[in-house]
């Protein structure tokens, strides 16, 4: 009985480091690009994003609020904590009115991912970093 109790105490010790991190950002709201050339809204499909094949709706505006059409957008899914991305190459197509639809977004495992979005349009080249909590 004493031995059992001792073992339970030791096992509990293994879990003593259980702690929580501060909040991690999510996707869905408007955000500015790194150099403030653009603003964009990213809406994952499905929401929340899941392991496997996903899509993404993007609404892109210039800093003055006007829709940006004809932009070239490249997306790289990246898992910062694990140092890898996905071998699938996302495809982005414009649907008009400053909206874009991205497919072939493949997340190979659950966890915190980051979409590195490169935008090239009239105002210049800029980048977004979009955190995603993939389930």
């Amino acid at each position: 009985m004493v031995r059992t109790r001792m073992f339970a105490v030791v096992l509990a010790g293994f879990c003593a480091a259980c702690s929580s991190n501060s909040a991690l950002a999510g996707a869905g709201g408007w955000q500015s690009s790194k150099a403030d050339l653009y603003r964009a809204r990213f809406v994952p499909d499905p929401e929340p994003p899941a392991t496997g094949q996903n899509a993404l709706d993007i609404t892109l505006e210039a800093s003055d609020g006007k829709p940006v059409e004809g932009a070239t957008i490249a997306i790289e899914p990246w898992m910062p904590a694990h140092g890898h991305g996905s071998s699938a190459v996302p495809v982005v197509q414009g649907v008009g009115g400053g909206s874009y639809h991205a497919t072939e977004l493949v997340y190979t495992m659950p966890g915190q991912w980051e979409l590195r979005v490169d935008v090239s349009a009239g105002a210049g080249d800029d980048q977004f970093a979009v955190p995603l909590d993939v389930q």
Partner: protein, 325 residues
């Protein structure tokens, strides 16, 4: 022959059998406990060992960066791992070199993708260990300080990226990623203490350094990725039931530090993995052939993991051939 002589003969036979078994039983306990500190590790009274283990592992969930547990959604993750390993004494009972290499058969069925399987080697490891201090294997006698001394085995080793790392994956689902993609050097110590003739505690602790490596960036070029350091601990309680049977329960924990990319620390990237398990071993031909069955689990409980993409349950069977001096 009188009844008294028959009884005396029986008693004498029992005593002789008991005496003949006492040494092997003690040796069995010793080897079982010291050999349980790692796959392929040679037990104290053996000269060498060869082992093969077949494990089936099924993912049941994941732990996010906050330590929250979630069941897998629309994903099926199954791995079969054949591990081959062994060790040999280096001319003296104190030193041994040992190692293992896994062969992984992986299956992934992720939402929206075609189910896929892949087979490939995992990350191989090799180690060197030294029996610095020996337990008397008598159990603890509070009146004899010598009986408190445990087996103490420091060890060093490396784990090589013989498996395909995640960045080298060629498949959309990443099913062909079978390794970490980085070299790891580790050092640690295994401490085995016999509490009684049949019961032992085995504590193995190690620290590992995972060497930085380059990962390809989508736009060309490379990123320098440092996977940081890892600390492992494993505590097992081993019970030797008799000459042939033994069992153990264990808990293990692996911590890794925050990773860094191009010299920048990535916040919330540290990992923690707590796992519990049990095993049952049987010598089928003492002391040469041993069979084992084990099961282990990442408990689906918040806080028992952090940044673990695939928490799993696994069962494994083991066959081991020991060689004596």
């Amino acid at each position: 022959m009188t009844g008294a002589r028959v009884r005396a003969g029986v008693v004498l036979s029992v005593v002789l059998v008991a005496l003949s078994l006492a040494r092997p039983a003690r040796a069995q306990a010793c080897c079982t406990a010291t050999g349980s500190s790692g796959f392929g590790v040679v037990g104290r009274c053996h000269f060498a060992a060869l082992a093969a283990q077949l494990a089936y592992e099924r993912g049941h969930g994941s732990f996010d960066a906050r330590g929250r547990y979630r069941t897998l959604r629309g994903a099926e993750v199954d791995d079969v791992v054949l591990s081959l390993g062994g060790g040999i004494r280096l001319g003296t009972p104190a030193w041994q070199i040992y190692g293992s290499v896994p062969l992984r058969l992986q299956y992934r069925d992720l939402g929206g993708l075609a189910p896929a399987g892949a087979v490939g080697p995992g990350d191989a490891s090799v180690g060197l260990r030294y029996m610095a201090v020996e337990d008397l294997v008598t159990g603890i006698d509070v009146h004899d300080a010598r009986t408190f001394v445990p087996f103490v085995e420091p060890f060093v080793g490396v784990r090589a990226p013989t498996g395909r790392g995640p960045t080298g994956s060629k498949t959309p689902s990443g099913v062909d990623a079978t390794g970490d993609g980085a070299w790891t050097a580790f050092a640690g110590v295994a401490v085995t203490k016999f509490l009684t003739l049949r019961d032992a505690l085995v504590l193995v602790g190690s620290w590992g350094y995972r060497f930085p490596h380059d990962v390809a960036a989508a736009g060309g070029g490379a990123r320098r990725f440092s996977t940081g350091q890892e600390v492992r601990a494993r505590l097992a309680f081993v019970r030797v039931f008799n000459l042939f049977w033994s069992g153990s329960v264990f808990a293990s924990v692996i911590f890794t530090s925050d990773v860094a990319q191009d010299g920048q620390r990535v916040p919330y990237s540290a990992t923690r993995r707590v796992r519990f398990g049990a095993s049952l071993m049987r010598y089928v031909v003492y002391p040469y052939w041993k069979l084992g069955l084990s099961a282990s689990l990442d408990p689906p409980i918040e806080g028992f993991g952090q940044n673990i993409p695939f928490a799993s349950a696994s069962v494994a069977c083991l066959v081991q051939r020991n060689f004596t001096w």
